[in-house]
Symmetry: C3
């Protein structure tokens, strides 16, 4: 095992990074589930065996499919910077307790964000979980840039 | 050179990660190619020198451009978690042969996925290559979380 | 602090990776700003307190919002491979001056790309900054694959 993995903070980062990445990956099957149950596809080859009439109906967009896709896209826009900033942050050697606080908070906000998005919970539930998750990342980025700065 | 690069598994990860990232990056020029040959643009400044009539025609969407964009987006949704999970996986110190199996399988499925998507090959070619690629990532994520788990 | 962070090239990578990631993250608040000032939303729960008539108006797309979203998406398509390739490149132990040249050039091109996109500057300003940024990444990828290649 690489030396990095002997570092407790790096192991914590690995755990939470894997969890939020898996959460993001689950949006793929969830999109497929909504596509099938709502009967809404985008690619012609996905409905090739259907009659012409059915094809027309199945190739229409559906609000539920579009919602889960927006949620997936929002995950990309947030989990990607979390991984980038979080990885660099873990390498700056922060206190384990401080690092865990950051990783746990981001993970919790992101999971709540998905629940709020998919179920269309009243605002500001979704907006707030996005903003708080972003603040966690800014806090980590501040530590990274104030520790390591070679312009 | 960093010590990490002396590790055979990490070198293998580096090779395959670079290959799938380059493959994903090639979707950019491919989109440009389809935009130009199909005459389909999105930004007004891209068709600024044309006549008003031509502009209207050129600013319409085209199914081939949308297809390559969906393919690019799907790459983002899959290559991103592969890099995240794969990097952490490589650091857990797996057997070289097992690691190579994972990296090679994912890379092959992803390249096949692009071919199936761009050429609109009959299903389940595209769906299957997506599912198999995802299973490879789940297998690596299982190893990561079972080796390193600090909640 | 991890040993990696004692390496000058890795510290330079960390600095520029954090900067472009933060730049990408700022596209989120910028989208929110355009949504609010242009009155253009996508999710019904975001306009829940408005009258039925207002809702209809607010749930329409607006070209400025779509433009900033395309810019954000383009960032994802470019900052993601920069982080992947750049991280691996930094680990191959290049000369500090060469590495800085790559990181600085990519960062400058990406910031200019955003300015050109949001302000719809005449082409080829946006196209050129995209192409030059991509060439920087290809140059780093070449170094990665020619140094470390385990197929």
């Amino acid at each position: 095992m690489a030396q990095l993995m002997e570092d407790e903070v790096f192991r914590a980062f690995t755990t939470y990074a894997a969890i939020v990445t898996l959460k993001m990956m689950l949006m793929g099957p969830m999109t497929a589930y909504f596509r099938i149950t709502r009967g809404s596809f985008t690619n012609e080859e996905d409905v090739a065996r259907k009659s012409e009439e059915e094809k027309k109906k199945l190739l229409k967009s559906h609000p539920d499919v579009e919602r889960v896709q927006r949620c997936h896209h929002n995950d990309l826009e947030n989990v990607v910077p979390f991984f980038f900033i979080g990885l660099l942050y873990a390498l700056t050697g922060p206190e384990l307790s401080t690092a865990l606080l950051h990783f746990r908070a981001f993970t919790a906000f992101r999971i709540f964000h998905t629940i709020a998005y998919i179920n269309a919970l009243p605002q500001p539930s979704r907006g707030l979980s996005y903003i708080l998750g972003t603040l966690v990342m800014f806090s980590m980025a501040y530590r990274v840039l104030s520790t390591v700065f070679v312009l």
